[in-house]
C-alpha cells in the first residue's frame, strides 16, 4: 500500500451537516476498467468517535452495499471505476449522501451524528483553525428543516443554556447565559447581523431554513467576531455546496394546527463546470394562534425569504464565495397588548381574556404590526498562500428596513409609527497560518460602517436618533499548533468606535444637535483545554471585555410604544467592563452515559440597564412608567447540564438543566429578564425490527420551567407567572423511494393543552401562551 494523492470530495451539501470525514488513502493497483476495485471504510459517531456497528453503506448506482462490523468497518468489492452516489445510514441517524469518484481502491472514514446534542462547532468544521477552547453546541440540518416553521430563536431554545425572549409567539430573540439583544452577536454566514437589535420586540431577521447548522458558542474565545459579549455568539451557517454534478435538492412542507400555519421551503443545488450554486426559498403563512381558551387575535405571521449562494474554486489557491439573502416578514402583535398608559396596562392585566379578542380565526394582520426586510450580501475571497497559510477577504453588506405600525387616530394606522433603515458595511482582511513551530495564528483587521436613519413622515418623534457609526478593529489569536492532551489559546482585540449622532434636544425650541462620541475598547481572553482521552475533556476560559454603549443606551428619548414606557438614554454612559470565566467538563462513561457540564461566572462593572423610576412621567395621555439607562455592577452566573443515557443504539434518555442568576450589586436586587430555572427530558426509541414499523422513531419529551422567584413586586407591573410543565410527542418515519427519500413526521407541542404564561414573554401581562399545536412535516429529498 502506498500513500498516494488525495482525492478530496465534498458531501452532498444537503446532508453535509451530519458528516465530517475524511482521511483517504489509496493503493496504486489500478486496472483500467477493471471492475475489481474495492471501497472500504470506517463509520463512527461524529460527536464521540465511537464506531457504529450495523451501519448500511449502499451504492445507489449499483443497487448493492454492505453493513459495518462491530468496529465500524465495511467493504464493498468488485466496483468498476466510475462516479457513484453513496447512501450511508444508521439507526437513529439521518441518511448521508455522498458523491464519490472511484478510480482506485478507496478507503473512507465517515462520521454520522448519532448523538446530535453532543456536537460542537469544532466537530462540525473539523479544521485546525477551528480548534478552540470555547464551548459550543450545534443543531443540525435535519432538525432545522423539520422545525423550519419556527423562528430561529425558537429552534435554538433546544440548546441547554439558551432561552428565548418573546413578544408573542411571532417575535422571539435568543437569550444566552442571561444576556440578549446588543450583547449577543448573531453571525449570519460569518457576517454579524446588523439591524435594530436594541429592541426586545425585534427578532433576528434570519430564515432558519438557509442554515445547515446553528451553533451557540458559550466560551470566551470569540475575539475574531468583535462580539459585544464574552462568547455568547450565535452562528448561522450554510455548508459548502455539493461537489455532485447532478441536480439535487429538497422540498419541505409543514402544516401546524395552531394558527393553521403553512410553511413551504425548497432548496436546489448543483455543481456546474464553472461553479457550484445553491438556491433556497421559504414561504410562511400563519394566522391567529389559540391559547387553550381563546384566540390570540392579530398574531398572524407572513414570511417570504430567498437565498442564493455561488462557490467558485478558481484553482488550488483561489476560492470565492458569493452569498445573498433576502428576508421579508410581516408580524401581527396581539391586539389586546396594545395599550396607552399605565392605567390601560393595569386594566389589561386584570382581564381574564385580552381586550379585542375575536371569536373567529383570521389570517389578517392589522396594526399593531411589524414589517421588516433584510438584505444581506457576502463576498468572500480566500487565497491559500501555502498549505498552512490562508488569506481571506470578506465583505458583508446589509440593508435592514423596519416599519412598525400602531393603532393611530385618523387614517394614520397605515403610516408607520417607526420607520428605520439601517445600512451597514463590513470589510475584513484575515490571515490564518502557522506563526512559529509551536503556534498557529489567526489575525485580522475589520472595518464596519453603519448608517442608521429614521425615514421621515411618521409624524412621531423618533425614539432612536439618526446616527453614523464607524468601527475599526484588529485582533489576534494564538493557538498551540500541536495539541496533545493540552490545548491552549490566547488573544487580544482592540476596537475604535466613532459615533456621530443627529438628533434634537428636549427643549421646546427643538434644536438640532450633532454630538459625537469616541470609544477605545479592548478585549483579552485565553483558554485551556485538557483532553486526556476520547472519553473526557475539560476547558477553562477567562476573558476581559469592554463594550461601548449603543445608541439606544445613549440617546433614546420618548415613548417606546412596543413596551409602553418612556425611555431616556444617558449620553454620559461609560463602556461596560466585564470579566467572565467558564469551566466545562464533557465525558463519556462506558460508551453509554454522556455528560456535559458547564459553569460560568461573569462580573460586569457599569452594566447598562433600563432602570424603572419610582415616579411616573405625567403626560396628557396619563402617567407612563419612566425608564432611564443607568449603570450598575452586576454578577451573572449559572450552570448548564446535559446528560444522555444511551444503553442501546435504539433508545436513549436525555436530560437538560439550566440555571442562571443575575444580581445587581449596586442596588442589591435581582436583574430582570433573567430566565427562570428549567429542566427538560426526552426519551426516544427507534424501531429496528424488520417489520412494518421499520425506520420509525418515537420520542416523548417533558419540560418544566420554574417560577422566576427572585424578582420583587416593585420590579415589575405584574409578579412573574407560576412555573409550568409541558409535554411533547414526536413520531417520524423514513420512506426510501429509490434514490430519493421521503420523511414524514408528526409532532405535538403542549400535548396536554396547558394554559400557562412565561416570564420572558412580554405578552404574559395580557394573555396565555399558545395551546396544543400539532405539526405535520413532509420532507422530500432528491
Amino acid at each position: 500500500m502506498i500513500l498516494s494523492d488525495h482525492i478530496s470530495f465534498r458531501l452532498s451539501g444537503l446532508l453535509v451537516l451530519k458528516v465530517v470525514f475524511v482521511l483517504l488513502f489509496f493503493s496504486e493497483n489500478i486496472y483500467a476498467q477493471d471492475c475489481s476495485l474495492s471501497l472500504t471504510g470506517k463509520i463512527m459517531d461524529k460527536g464521540t468517535a465511537i464506531p457504529l456497528e450495523f451501519s448500511n453503506v449502499f451504492i445507489e448506482d449499483l443497487g448493492r452495499g454492505a453493513v459495518t462490523d462491530k468496529d465500524g468497518f465495511f467493504e464493498i468489492k468488485n466496483i468498476c471505476p466510475a462516479d457513484y452516489h453513496l447512501a450511508v445510514s444508521h439507526l437513529g441517524c439521518e441518511t448521508v449522501e455522498i458523491f464519490l469518484v472511484i478510480k482506485k481502491d478507496t478507503f473512507i472514514n465517515l462520521y454520522l451524528s448519532h448523538h446530535e446534542e453532543l456536537l460542537d462547532e469544532v466537530v462540525v468544521h473539523g479544521s485546525k483553525a477551528e480548534n478552540t477552547t470555547a464551548v459550543s453546541s450545534t443543531i443540525n440540518r435535519a432538525t432545522i428543516t423539520t422545525e423550519s416553521n419556527e423562528n430561529i430563536a425558537d429552534i435554538l431554545e433546544s440548546i441547554v443554556g439558551v432561552s428565548v425572549l418573546r413578544n408573542g409567539s411571532g417575535i422571539s430573540k435568543p437569550v444566552v447565559h442571561g444576556l440578549f439583544g446588543n450583547r449577543v452577536t448573531i453571525l449570519n454566514n460569518g457576517i454579524a447581523q446588523s439591524g435594530q437589535q436594541w429592541g426586545n420586540d425585534h427578532a433576528p431577521e434570519i430564515d432558519p431554513f438557509v442554515a445547515d447548522h446553528l451553533s451557540v458558542v458559550k466560551g470566551v474565545s470569540t475575539l475574531a467576531y468583535g462580539g459585544n459579549s464574552l462568547g455568547s455568539l450565535v452562528m448561522v451557517e450554510s455548508a459548502p455546496i455539493t461537489n455532485d454534478p447532478h441536480l439535487h435538492g429538497e422540498t419541505n412542507y409543514t402544516f401546524e394546527t395552531n394558527g393553521l400555519g403553512h410553511t413551504i421551503n425548497a432548496r436546489l443545488e448543483k455543481k456546474n463546470d464553472w461553479a457550484a450554486w445553491r438556491v433556497s426559498g421559504s414561504l410562511k403563512r400563519k394566522g391567529d394562534t389559540h391559547t387553550p381558551d381563546y384566540f390570540l387575535t392579530n398574531t398572524g405571521q407572513r414570511e417570504n425569504n430567498i437565498a442564493f449562494q455561488l462557490d467558485k474554486k478558481w484553482n488550488s489557491r483561489w476560492d470565492t464565495e458569493f452569498y445573498y439573502s433576502l428576508f421579508n416578514t410581516e408580524i401581527g402583535v396581539l391586539r389586546g397588548s396594545h395599550i396607552g398608559n399605565l392605567t390601560d396596562l393595569n386594566q389589561a392585566i386584570g382581564q381574564k381574556i385580552p381586550f379585542f379578542t375575536e371569536d373567529n380565526f383570521a389570517y389578517n394582520i392589522n396594526p399593531p404590526r411589524q414589517l421588516v426586510n433584510h438584505h444581506l450580501v457576502k463576498v468572500s475571497i480566500k487565497h491559500s498562500l501555502s498549505d498552512h497559510q490562508i488569506l481571506k477577504f470578506n465583505y458583508g453588506g446589509q440593508l435592514n428596513q423596519r416599519k412598525e405600525f400602531d393603532i393611530r387616530r385618523g387614517d394614520r394606522s397605515d403610516i408607520p409609527a417607526l420607520n428605520l433603515n439601517q445600512f451597514s458595511n463590513f470589510f475584513e482582511v484575515a490571515y490564518d497560518g502557522d506563526f512559529s513551530e509551536h503556534f498557529f495564528l489567526k489575525t485580522g483587521i475589520q472595518f464596519t460602517y453603519v448608517d442608521n436613519g429614521n425615514q421621515s413622515g411618521t409624524g412621531i418623534l423618533p425614539l432612536i436618533p439618526n446616527y453614523d457609526a464607524a468601527k475599526t478593529g484588529a485582533y489576534f489569536i494564538l493557538k498551540n499548533s500541536n495539541p496533545s492532551k493540552w490545548f491552549y489559546e490566547f488573544g487580544g482585540r482592540y476596537d475604535f468606535k466613532y459615533l456621530s449622532i443627529f438628533t434634537i434636544d428636549n427643549r421646546i425650541s427643538r434644536n438640532i444637535i450633532r454630538p459625537t462620541h469616541h470609544f477605545h475598547n479592548y478585549t483579552i481572553s485565553g483558554g485551556v483545554k485538557y483532553q486526556p482521552s476520547h472519553d473526557f475533556k475539560s476547558s477553562f476560559n477567562l476573558g476581559y471585555l469592554l463594550r461601548a454603549p449603543e445608541v439606544n443606551e445613549l440617546y433614546s428619548a420618548g415613548l417606546h410604544q412596543g413596551v409602553s414606557g418612556i425611555e431616556e438614554g444617558d449620553p454620559n454612559l461609560n463602556s461596560e467592563r466585564s470579566l467572565k470565566a467558564t469551566l466545562s467538563f464533557d465525558g463519556v462513561v462506558k460508551e453509554k452515559l454522556f455528560f456535559q457540564v458547564l459553569g460560568y461566572f461573569q462580573h460586569v462593572q457599569d452594566f447598562i440597564y433600563l432602570q424603572p423610576q419610582e415616579e411616573f412621567r405625567l403626560t396628557i395621555r396619563g402617567a407612563f412608567p419612566l425608564f432611564i439607562y443607568k449603570q450598575a455592577n452586576v454578577n451573572i452566573y449559572g450552570t448548564d447540564v446535559l446528560l444522555k443515557y444511551a444503553p442501546r443504539q435504539n433508545w436513549s434518555l436525555t436530560a437538560k438543566y439550566a440555571i442562571v442568576r443575575g444580581d445587581n450589586l449596586t442596588d442589591d436586587v435581582a436583574l430582570i429578564n433573567i430566565p427562570s430555572d428549567n429542566i427538560s427530558t426526552s426519551f426516544s426509541y427507534i424501531f429496528s425490527d424488520e417489520n412494518f414499523l421499520k425506520n420509525t422513531s418515537l420520542s416523548l419529551s417533558g419540560s418544566y420551567f420554574f417560577r422566576q422567584g427572585r424578582i420583587t413586586d416593585e420590579q415589575d407591573f405584574l409578579s412573574p407567572p407560576d412555573g409550568y410543565g409541558l409535554i411533547g410527542f414526536q413520531a417520524a418515519r423514513d420512506f426510501p423511494l429509490g434514490k430519493n427519500k421521503l420523511k414524514i413526521s408528526l409532532k405535538a407541542d403542549n400535548l396536554l393543552n396547558t394554559a400557562y404564561r412565561d416570564y420572558l414573554n412580554r405578552l404574559r401581562y395580557f394573555a396565555d401562551e399558545p395551546g396544543r399545536n400539532i405539526k405535520l412535516n413532509i420532507r422530500y429529498v432528491f
Binding site: G340, Q347, F355, N452
Partner: protein, 186 residues
C-alpha cells in the same frame, strides 16, 4: 477579471440601495396626532363658566404640564363641553374635529373621586347610538372636595357591559388623554 467586474457591479448596486438611508440632513420629524391641551368648560344655565384646563405645550418630558382645576357651585347642573387642541403648532389645531369625525372610535369617561359629590352623564351619541362625551351634563351635590378624572379612549369596546353608561372598566382600547383636575364644590 470577469468575476471581479460582476462583484463590483453588485457592490455598486448595494451602495445605491443605501442612498435612501442617507437622510441625516433632513429636519426633525413634525409630530402629528399631538394633543397638548384639554379644556373642559362647564356652563350653568345662567351663563357662568368654569373651565378645567390641562396643557403641556412641549409634550412628554421637558416642562411640567399646567393643570388648573376649578370651583363649582353646590346642587347645580352644568352643561359640559370638552375641547382638545394642539397648541404646539400655528395655527392651533383643533383636534376635537378629528374626534368628531371618528366618533364611533372614541369615548370620553368622567370619573369623579369618591369624595366628590358630582355625577357626569353623556349628552351626545354616535351613529350607533353610543355615547361620545364631547358634550356632557355635570350635576353637583353637597359641598365637597375631590378630583375629576377625564379619560379619552381610542377604540374602546362601546358594546361592553357598562361602557355606554360611563363605566370604563370593560372598555379596553388605548388612552389618548388621561388628566385629573382638583375640584371644589361649595
Amino acid at each position: 477579471m470577469k468575476l471581479s467586474n460582476k462583484l463590483f457591479l453588485l457592490l455598486s448596486f448595494f451602495a445605491l440601495l443605501s442612498l435612501p438611508a442617507c437622510n441625516d440632513d433632513e429636519g426633525p420629524e413634525d409630530p402629528e396626532e399631538v394633543i397638548t391641551t384639554l379644556n373642559y368648560s362647564l356652563f350653568t344655565t345662567s351663563g357662568q363658566v368654569v373651565t378645567l384646563s390641562f396643557s403641556d405645550l412641549d409634550g412628554d418630558g421637558g416642562n411640567d404640564p399646567v393643570i388648573s382645576g376649578g370651583t363649582l357651585m353646590a346642587n347645580t347642573t352644568y352643561i359640559g363641553t370638552a375641547d382638545f387642541l394642539n397648541e404646539s403648532v400655528t395655527p392651533v389645531e383643533i383636534v376635537t374635529e378629528e374626534i368628531e369625525e371618528e366618533d364611533d372610535e372614541h369615548q370620553l369617561f368622567f370619573i369623579p373621586s369618591s369624595s366628590l359629590n358630582a355625577t357626569v352623564t353623556y349628552s351626545d351619541m354616535d351613529d350607533d347610538g353610543n355615547p361620545i362625551g364631547l358634550s356632557s351634563t355635570l350635576v353637583t351635590g353637597e359641598a365637597s372636595d375631590g378630583q375629576l378624572t377625564i379619560i379619552l379612549r381610542h377604540q374602546p369596546d362601546k358594546a361592553a357591559e357598562g361602557v355606554a353608561a360611563g363605566n370604563i372598566e370593560n372598555a379596553g382600547g388605548e388612552t389618548d388623554i388621561e388628566v385629573t383636575f382638583d375640584v371644589t364644590i361649595q
